[in-house]
Every structure is written in C-alpha cells, then in structure tokens.
C-alpha cells in the first residue's frame, strides 16, 4: 500500500483481521516519509509484516519512476530504523527453498541444513554430509521476492506503459466499476509478464497494449487460489490469496484507493491443491 495514503489503506485492509497498532502507525507515517526522502524513491510502499516467533519484520519497498523496475526492499524491526535488503538472486532462492518453518524474528539467526554434497578428492567421488548455514536475512529476501512474484496484484488501468518502455502510474485511473471489480480478469500481477506471450493472436488483438501488458489473475494455477469478496455492502472489494495466506488486496470501486498488504508467517500454503 502506498505510504501516502497509509491510514486509509490500513483501514480498508483491516477486514482480514490484521493491522497495525497505533504506535506502529505513527512511527510508519514519519519514518516512511524519511525513507522516501533519503533514498530518493518515487513511491514508497508499505509492503507488510512478517510474523516471527520472537519479533516481527516490517517490510517496505521503494519504487523508482519505472514501476516495473526491480524494487528496493527495506526491513525494520521497530518501524523506525530501516535497513536495505540485498536484491534477490536465483542462488538465494535455491538455497532457501529447503528451509521450512516459521521465521525467528532475528535477522542474524542462521538456519542449519544438512545436505549431501559430492566432493571430489583425487579420483574418487564420494558424498559427505555438509551442514549449510543459511541466514535469516537471505530467507527473508527470497520469501519477499516469491510473494511479490506470485501474488502482488494491481487493478487493470492503474499503470500504463509508455511507448518508450517505462511503466508509469496512471493519474487518470478512477477505479474499476462494480461489475469489473468482481472479475478476476481485471487484476494483474504486479511483475514482468510471463504468460502474456502464450496468448493467441486473436486474444492479443483485443488487448490494449498500454494497459494490458501484465498477466491477469485468470489463469493462475491452481485455479481458485484467489478469493474475491465484497465487503461493507459492495463498497469494497477484497481479494485474498489462498496460496500465500495473509496477502490481502483491497480496492474501493470507482475510487483510486487500492493496494495490497501481506501480514502473515511467510509460509506458502503448499497443500492448497488438496484443499480446493
């Protein structure tokens, strides 16, 4: 959610039951403003909160002018001091995919994972058990990246693509209409498109290249991993992800208010196909 409209966004997203306490809100209002000034971001998003056993991580993201460019992620333990996280790499993702369980809440905590590694010594190849240490910071980075790639969404029309390439915020976006808001096809993944090229030419002909340049939620796998609800008697549409429980996207139809927040344990719900 945008840091500019933090209070309103928090209230709209409160239907999932998780929010922020007043002291955190007060700290966020000022500290995010400072972050924006210090790092010279175009937009700062309050991404959410990852619940750990000992402490919680508060995550913020900074965007530059191009909305689809890689985002900078910051984390904080007390909503006042923010530290920059390194960008995610493939190696990190592979490494942290073996770590399971809850976050500890301590960024210097290290997970231990034993794995068999093939070591060549002389002419022989034999396996040895090696204990690999994985830092929690690394895990944090990769989880945030996964969540972003999987379930960060934005309504159709909120961003537009210029002919030169960069993606900008659409200032003329007045919100989705009520009928559009109930359809999954009106929402896009907030990331570089992956499945767009698989569409047939017929389908592509109907698309508007300046608005429909991202993947929509319709073809997400597993099917049914999104729950759409109208709250407050059709005044608010809320999308909740079942794959990453804790992600809530809200949008007030016919207004500009939209955003998403993740408040959860940072664990993927792998059993989802059995649940549906």
């Amino acid at each position: 959610m945008d840091a500019e409209s933090l209070l309103l966004s928090l209230e709209l997203a409160s239907g999932s039951g998780q929010g922020l306490s007043p002291d955190r809100r007060a700290s966020l209002l000022t500290s995010l403003l400072l972050v924006k000034r210090d790092y010279r971001y175009d937009r700062v998003l309050f991404w959410g909160r990852i619940l750990g056993l000992v402490a919680d991580y508060y995550i913020a993201q900074g965007l530059s002018e191009d909305q689809l460019a890689p985002r900078k992620t910051l984390y904080s333990l007390n909503c006042m001091e923010w530290s920059l996280l390194p960008p995610a790499t493939e190696e990190m993702m592979a490494q942290t995919s073996v770590v399971k369980g809850r976050f500890m809440g301590d960024p210097s905590h290290e997970y231990e994972h034993t794995e068999l590694q093939k070591i060549k010594e002389g002419g022989k190849v034999f396996e040895e058990e090696v204990v690999v240490q994985i830092k929690e910071e690394t895990r944090l980075v990769s989880i945030i990246d996964q969540i972003d790639k999987a379930v960060a969404i934005i309504p159709r029309g909120a961003l537009f693509k210029t002919p030169f390439g960069p993606v900008h915020v659409n200032r003329t976006f007045e919100g989705l209409s009520l009928s559009e808001a109930k359809k999954l096809s009106s929402y896009f993944h907030f990331r570089e498109p992956v499945q767009l090229k698989n569409k047939t030419l017929l389908e592509k002909a109907d698309l508007d290249p300046s608005l429909d340049f991202m993947d929509s939620l319709e073809h997400d796998i597993p099917k049914g991993s999104w729950s759409i609800q109208m709250e407050r008697g059709n005044a608010l549409v809320v999308l909740r992800s079942l794959l990453w429980p804790g992600l809530t996207f809200f949008h007030a139809p016919r207004t500009k208010n939209c955003g998403y927040i993740y408040v959860g344990t940072g664990e993927k719900n792998i059993d989802l196909p059995f649940m549906l």
Binding site: Q18, S21, P22, L51, L53, S227, R240, F274
Partner: protein, 625 residues
Amino acid sequence: MGDPPPDPEPPSQPPSSRRSSQVSQRRGLELSRPQPAFPEEAEQIPLDANLQGWSLGANPTQQENLTMFQAEEAQLGGVEYPSPNMGFPSELQPQLYLEEGGIQATQNAGLMLQQLQRGQSNLFQQLESAYLETQPDLLGQFNMYQRDDLQFSQHGPYLRDDPTLQFSPSELGFTPFTLEVPEPEPLQLAVQNAKAYLLQTSVSCSLSLYEHLVNLLTKILNQRPEDPLSILESQKALFLRSGGGEGQQEMEEEVAETAVPNVMETAFYLEQAGVGLSSDESFRIFMALKQLVEQQPVHPCRFWGKILGLSRSYLVAEVSFREGEEEGEEEEAEEMMEGGEGMDAPDEEEGEEDEAKDTDVTPKPMWKPPPVIPREESRSGTNKYLYFVCNEPGRPWTRLPPVTPPQILPARPRVARQQSNERTPVNWGRGGLSSQGCFPSTYLYVVGMWPDLPPPDLQGRCTWVNPLQKIEEEEELGEEEEKADEGMEGVEQEVGPPLLTPLSEDAEIMHMSPWTTRLSCSLCPQYSVAVVRSNLWPGAYAYASGKKFENIYIGWGHKSSPENFNPPLPAPGQQEDPNTPEILEMSDPTVEEEQALKAAQEQALAAAEEEEEDEEEDEEEDLDD
C-alpha cells in the same frame, strides 16, 4: 379535633420574613423555635394529631438536618437545602400542609428521600420512630425537642454520627399518654405506602431497600470518605455484590443491558495489539450483536471472531441460552435418529436368520461401525455455548446446530477450505468451532481469574464415554459381537487436559512454542497490553490488560501444521483365499488324453469280451464231450 389552629394569620406574616432571613438566622430560629413551638404543638395535637406528629417528626429532623447540613457542609459540599419548607417554623407547617396536602405529601416524601441521599443515619431512626409508632411519636418529638435543647446548648450543634448519641429507640418507646388512633390521612397513607414499599424485601435476599439504605448510610458516616457521592456509587456496588437486595429492579435492568458485550472496548484493546477489524466495522458488529440479543433470549453473548471464506466470511457470536429457553428442534432431530437406529436392528436380525438357512455362507464383513458416542447435552461440555453466524453485520443471524462427536473427530485432520454460502452444511464449521473453542490451547485466561470455561475437547465430547459399554448392549444381536469385543478392548481412555492449564505446558510444535507473547508497545510498558498469539491456530489472539482480557479469532479456520499434507495411501492389497482343495480348480483333460482314455477303455472292453468268448468256448467244449 375541633380547635382551629391557633394564630393562623399572625404567624403567616413572620414566616415570610423568616423565610428571607432563614438562611442567615437559621440557628437563631432553631434555638428559639423549640420553646414557642412547644406549647403550640400541645394545642395542635388534638387537631391533626398524626398529621402534625408526622410533620413534627419531620421538622425537628429537618431542623437538625439543617444544623447538620451547615456543620457538615464542608464535608458534603454543595448541599442544597431541599426546599423552602424546611426553613418554615414548625407552627406554620401544619397550615401549609392543610392547604396543599397532596403536594406537600409528595414534596415531603421527596424531602425525605433527599435526606436519605444526604446520608443522615439518625434520620432513619427518627423516621422509624415516626412511622412505627404514631402515638408515642408526639411525646417522642417532645423528648427529641428536649434532647435538642440539651444538644444545642452544647457548644456547636454538630451531631456526631454515633447512633448511641442519638435518640435511642428505648426512649422513644416511652408513651406517657395515649392518643386516639388516628384516621389515615392521605398524607399519612402516602407515607405509609412509601415506607411499606421501601421495606419490602427483595426476591433474592432478605434485605429490603430500606434496610440496605440504612446500612449504606451508616457505613458512609462511619467511614467519612472524602467524596461521599462517588464512594456511594462504589459502595452501592459493594453492597450489591455482598448480596444486598438494593434495587433489585435496577439490577435486572443493568443485566439486560449488559447481555451485549462491550465490543468497542475489546476492539480498542485489540487495536493496541495490532489485531482486529477497523473501528467502524467493530461498531457494526456491536449493533448486530445487540440485534441478536434482542431477537433471541441469549445471555451472555460474546463476539467469537470472524472466519474468512472463499466467497463470503462468517461473523461468529458465541452465546449461551438462559435456562429453559431452548428450541425444541434438537429433540426432534434426536428422535428421528433414534428411530432410524431402531429400524436397523431388526433388519440385521432378519438377515442373520436368512443367512443361517443358506448353506453357502458368504463371509460376513468383520467391520463393525464404531459405537455411536452420544452427543453431549446442551449447555454442557462441547455444547455449552451456542454459535450464531452471519455474513455481514446487519444480516439475520443463523444458528449453528449443536455439534456431535462424529463431527468433531473427523474435523480434526481436516483440509477442506470453508465455503461460505449459507446453504452449505456447516457441520465442518461447527466441529471446527468447538474443537477450536474448546481446546484450552486457544483460550487464554488471566491467571487468577476463573470465569466460565468451555471444557476441553476429547473424543469429541467432554466426558469420556466408555465404548465398551456400548458393545455390551449390542451383544444380544449375534455371535459376531464377540469378535468385535476383542477388537475394542484395546481402546484407551482419552484423557483431556484439565481446564485452565498454563500455556507454558502446552505441547510444542516441532521445537516451537505454541504461543507467542508480546507487549503491545515496548516504549511504555506500564500502559501496554499483553498480547498472546497462537502459533498452532494462526489467527487466534488474546489480549490482557489489568483485569480485562478477551479472546478472538480472525482467520481462515485452519490449523497450521509443520508437516505438509499427505493424502492417505491406499489400503494394502488384500489376501486371496487360501487354496483349499475344495476350490482348487482341476484342469480339463486335453483331447489327446481323452482319446487315450477312450482307447484304453476300448481295449479294456475288448479284452473283457475276449475273455468271455474264451470262457464260452471252454464251456461249449465241455458240453461237447
């Protein structure tokens, strides 16, 4: 009663002046009043004996109260003089009463009550004397006047609160002369009615409002607190708790109002903890609960939480019915079930008879359904609370059926996601609610407080039922039961955790404690709220602040498990029947074998024929010779 009141007019003039100078010259009036009043009252006695007696009874008390007001003004602060009537000299009181009898009655009744509130303990004794014994009252008043003189002659009319210093009832009981029994005047009647009303004992205990007020004011005057009015409120509360019958009707009104929980307060504390719905949503829920309480006779009521669903979410309210006000729908359902079970039994018997006649007995299945564990009575155990759900605040509340053990047991390892249409069966939801709600691991109670608790959830109900008992009942059905018995012997009793176990003893999940505790704000710990978050049921929160605490659940309704779900493996392949000679197949003879057999048979036949021919030839040869 014929003598008119003496000097009606002359005394009417001075009272206006006296009225004006009432405040300033109160003490002078009081001192002077007793003497001239004394002879006049003696004359006025026969006229309106009781009326005056009552008024006289009121006057000295009023006068005394005035003195006490002045003396205690510093303490009581802001004492209003009830009405100008109190300043009137006693001579005029009866006249005014005669003129405006009814109004005066109510006004004086109001005065009395005002004085009650002002905390004059001696008032009651005087009132008592005034009410109970009208005849000795008059003399008692004279006695009181005399006592007044004595006391006023002391330095300062400040009357201490020690009742023994006041007029003891023994003195008032002195009746030197008898008076006629007075006819009840409307004023007197009103007064008697008022006192009778105050004296009526409440339903719950033996104290009456009257007695309670006496106790209350005595206590206040004994303790002399700083701010008596606010202490009065709290004392009232203490008296209520100690079983006082004070204002039983007020109590009932309060109780009816508090059936709805203070949702806003809970929402405030939960917001401090960072949990919960927004404040206007909480207010809507508050209104919806109020609507529920008005429609159904539920008390008390509690907002349990919100269960998120796919298309719509559920708001859940936990209620418990008042006794004897439950609907009879459940009983009907039970009867239907019992009827169905009764039908099954004779069917089984018939089937057995038929099979016994059959020579070719098909093997009977060994599986017997587990004995039906009866569901618990309502308002006990897992069904202690009833749950109402609605989709949005403002929609009608739907009642969930009481949970049965078969619903809870399979609900334990459930994986289905909650659909949210109201038409879908809510058995999952109900089983989930009770298994969540009844697990002590999801309820947090502040140590030292022991409210009404839902008991632990074991075996689907809260008291363990011996399944072996059930089997004994079914033994009549047939011999197969014996085999079933052997299978069931190994059932161990499920022991549930006792109520209110401390959280630290909860079982760990994979080296992780099942609860996470936080302070809501680390910057000022003395004002912050303690928050406990469940790791086993993500979404279950509890807060505690001082003596206030509350639990809530907002989430999907799933337990978090560190293990991923594995679908159950298929059952192992069953064994074939052992190859007994009876069912062993024989291979059919081939064509060659058949021909060989045929040839062998023909040879044997031919050999037999030759032998016969040889024998016949031998016989013929024998005959020829």
